[in-house]
Amino acid sequence: MQPAPDPDLRTPDLYLVFEADTVSVRQSLRQMLALAPLAGLSVEDRGVAELVLAEVLNNVAEHAYSDGGGTVSVSLARDPAGIRCRVVDRGRAMPGERLPQGHLPGGPDTALEDLPEGGFGWHLIRSLCADLAYTRVDGQNRLGFLLPTNGQGPSDNGDRS
């Protein structure tokens, strides 16, 4: 059974369902970026959209469905503040049914051999999008977030050259 379109986004500009594996995620990202509403964004905003969606979707592929495959749906809708996104899958729930904090692993004094090779994903997601909300309903993981447009990322203001 495929995840149903999220009721909070009644009329998404784009709705896609695909297999949650890293190769399909890559192909679907290419498709999404070529279509409205992402195709109309600035190069910079498209880069951020691709990064956030890649992190979210690869988390579904590698964690929610780590015991076997499944489908994931993406709904995108224009909003005055940016692009509203919903990602729904039927995989395993987030640990404790809560979003990871996304603390940056390591630190400036970390020894080279102790540098983290993972754990950056949720930090990037939290740094680049707003209104992040997760619910576990009827065996579904539902993740909602806003991709701010016009370079107005929550932690990315004021330092562009």
């Binding site: 880069g47 951020v48 400036p108 080279l112 754990g119 990315d156």
Partner: protein
């Protein structure tokens, strides 16, 4: 995952010929990097000019290569595109790597050291 290497007296440069290093290719990238840098100069410069997209898996693979080369050899980076630069900055990995604006600068830096 295609990599192109050029060996100079004190530095080997490796250009990534793909436009992305992502979750689908990160492991392959790491293995190919290990193969092409098996021998050669102590300084390795990774030229990312063609890479338009790097996700957390790709970043993790680059960090892994730096660790594989240590302690006798170093991994430096050159030519970060804007989205790639953003990933390094947001994860503060820009403070861990020496990052050069161009391959020429990187090679000159490596040769003079």
């Amino acid at each position: 995952m295609q990599l192109q290497t050029q060996t100079r007296p004190k530095v080997i440069s490796v250009q990534v010929m793909e436009d992305r290093i992502d979750a689908a290719t990160a492991i392959q990238f790491k293995e190919k990097m290990r193969d092409v840098t098996r021998d050669g100069p102590a300084r390795v410069v990774l030229d990312l000019a063609r890479v338009q997209f790097l996700d957390s898996s790709g970043l993790g693979a680059i960090v892994a290569v730096k660790k594989l080369l240590a302690p006798d050899r170093t991994l430096e980076l050159a030519c970060l595109t804007p989205t790639v630069e953003k990933v390094f900055r947001l994860t503060r990995m820009d403070g861990i790597f020496t990052i050069h604006s161009s391959l020429e600068v990187a090679v000159a830096h490596a040769a003079s050291a």
